[in-house]
């Protein structure tokens, strides 16, 4: 009976809880990325960088890529803490989410709320849904269920321990909080085993493009888009960090910059 977890002393139970928590949180991700094993069925051909970015990191990544692509084509320009748009640039855009991002900034809305925009979100979820239908991404509902089950398992074990042993339980609560963060990260990992296989193949196929990335200039169009879609924005030879930072929700910067900057600025400066 000594090995029964609830009989363990405090530090030993904390170690047990770490192992238990890692198993509960990480095993679903491992299973998601490896099941079915030895799957060699043909993969769909993804040509659109926006779709590839969605596969890799969800529709939020697609919206970020759309912004970078629009900037690369000089249809959107960073202006301090906001973005200015080229008047009439919408006519040359064929990708719906790029158009939605452009129209968002044409309306003079703050960058920090882009990822919560209804039009961008709807288009992004359509992209995710299309990838889910092709078996490349695990549906968000399924991931949320796993997330809830993981938290429930952790909560039951932690709760029982507290109920059986009583205080002190501060370290146990800290471990619980860490596992919630980890489980949330796992929840956001959308690619299925097929999706992971497709991504790793794309990364292998364009490895030489990445190797010569420092020769790629702004305005290279498809090369910039594909490089960022397949490897992430860190693979680009120029920094887009300041632009992407504006997309993070910031109550003070977003609120104040929009009113004065976007509305009057759109259509002014791109291309100059």
């Amino acid at each position: 009976m000594k090995l029964f977890p609830f009989n363990l002393t405090g530090p030993h139970f904390l170690w047990f809880f770490i192992v238990f928590g890692l198993c509960v949180v990480m095993l679903p991700l491992y299973r998601r990325r490896t099941f079915p094993p030895q799957d060699d069925s043909p993969l769909p051909h993804l040509t659109d960088p926006i779709e590839i970015a969605t596969l890799r990191a969800g529709y939020e990544e697609a919206a970020r890529l759309a912004l970078i692509v629009l900037n690369d084509r000089c249809l959107i320009k960073q202006d301090g803490k906001t973005f200015r748009c080229l008047l009439g640039g919408a006519g040359s855009i064929r990708v719906p989410i790029e158009l939605a991002v452009l129209q968002y900034f044409e309306r003079g809305l703050p960058p920090g709320d882009l990822l919560n925009d209804g039009a961008v979100g709807n288009l992004g979820r359509k992209l995710e849904s299309s990838l889910e239908q092709r078996g490349l991404r695990v549906p968000a509902v399924e991931r949320a269920q796993v997330f809830c089950l993981s938290l429930a398992a952790l909560g039951i074990v932690a709760g029982l321990r507290i109920w059986v042993s009583g205080p002190p339980f501060a370290f146990l609560l800290i471990e619980c909080a860490a596992f919630v963060v980890l489980a949330n990260w796992v929840r956001r990992q959308g690619p299925s085993a097929r999706g992971v296989r497709l991504l790793s193949q794309l990364q292998a196929l364009f490895l030489r493009l990445k190797a010569r990335a420092n020769r790629i200039r702004r305005g290279a169009g498809p090369e910039v888009a594909l490089l960022a879609a397949v490897y992430g924005f860190g693979a680009l030879p120029f920094s887009v960090r300041s632009m992407l930072a504006l997309l993070r929700p910031k109550s003070n910067s977003a609120g104040s910059s929009c009113g004065s900057g976007c509305g009057g600025g759109c259509g002014g400066g791109c291309g100059s």
């Binding site: 040509t47 659109d48 790793s200 193949q201 292998a204 196929l205 490895l207 030489r208 493009l209 594909l226």
Partner: protein, 293 residues
């Protein structure tokens, strides 16, 4: 849907180069077939091989080897052959190909695709080498004619006689490089159409189209060099039309480019020109057949 040429068996595609890779990936639906260089993939990672195999499932892929040195009285490099065989088994391409060229002797690499003397010893060596390659890889290579600016010393046959005899002796398909053929005709003052018709066209399965430029050697003699840095000239498309009018089997046409890469729209235009030439050639073949019937 891929736009196939008028004859459903004819395909037009591109040689995969890293500089074109992104555009090829994005426009894959407009490309009927691809060719990858085997020698570039000898040290490829497991993931890259898996990616190439996946590509081969999506579009007919040919594996093009450049340095086996089949046209030689000496034996083919076994290590290199084993690597090609491994690549073919792992990537599962539609077919593989190699030049009818001489690339090494006595362990020394020339670093160039050279024409071997067109004589019986070379023929015997080439037939033996192709048979070795067939046994190692499991299928016959498509054999490619090469460009040369000199008539190989010691030759007793013409190029087309030599190529014809190798194809007869090996029963291998011919990968006809039309710009190589045109360059040889230009350099030796011959009619390219006549040179084309002298080849066993019933054995042509695949075609290379490329471009080159005229350079002057030390003696001031002008030579047409097949450098793959220029667009295929109009005459190459004319030759493709003649070939399509005479070839009895479907043709896999690959446009090669190794440098000075143009805008991809220009590459797509060249593919459209190739499709047009194939369609016209096939139409002509049909007309001739119906007239004969």
């Amino acid at each position: 849907m891929r736009k196939l040429s008028k004859s459903a068996c004819d395909r037009v595609g591109l040689a995969w180069r890293d500089e074109l890779a992104v555009d090829i990936h994005i426009h894959l639906q407009d490309i009927d077939c691809l060719e990858i260089l085997a020698d570039h993939e000898f040290r490829a990672s497991r993931q890259r091989i898996a990616a190439l195999r996946e590509l081969a499932r999506q579009v007919p892929l040919s594996l093009h080897s450049v340095a086996l040195g089949l046209a030689s009285s000496g034996p083919v490099d076994e290590k290199r052959l084993a690597r090609v065989a491994e690549l073919v088994s792992r990537i599962e391409p539609d077919h593989w190909s190699e030049h009818l060229a001489f690339v090494r002797a006595g362990g020394l690499e020339i670093g160039h695709l050279a024409a071997a003397p067109y004589r019986p010893e070379t023929l015997e060596g080439a037939v033996r080498n192709v048979e070795r390659a067939r046994r190692a890889v499991g299928s016959l290579p498509h054999l490619e004619n090469i460009a040369t600016s000199i008539r190989p010393p010691g030759s007793v046959w013409s190029e087309e006689q030599f190529v014809g005899q190798v194809l007869h002796g090996t029963q291998a398909p011919l990968l006809l490089d039309l710009h190589n053929l045109y360059a040889n005709a230009w350099n030796f003052g011959r009619d390219p159409v006549e040179l084309l018709r002298a080849l066993p066209l019933e054995q042509v399965r695949s075609v290379h189209l490329s471009g080159g430029c005229v350079v002057r050697d030390a003696a001031g003699v002008a030579r047409l060099v097949d450098d793959h840095f220029h667009d295929p000239p109009e005459v190459v498309f004319d030759l493709l039309q003649v070939l399509a009018a005479n070839a009895t089997r479907g043709l896999t046409v690959i446009i090669e480019r190794d440098g000075q890469f143009p805008d991809f729209r220009a590459v797509l235009r060249q593919m459209a020109l190739a499709r047009l030439a194939l369609a016209r050639g096939r139409e002509r073949q049909l007309l001739l057949r119906s007239a004969a019937a």
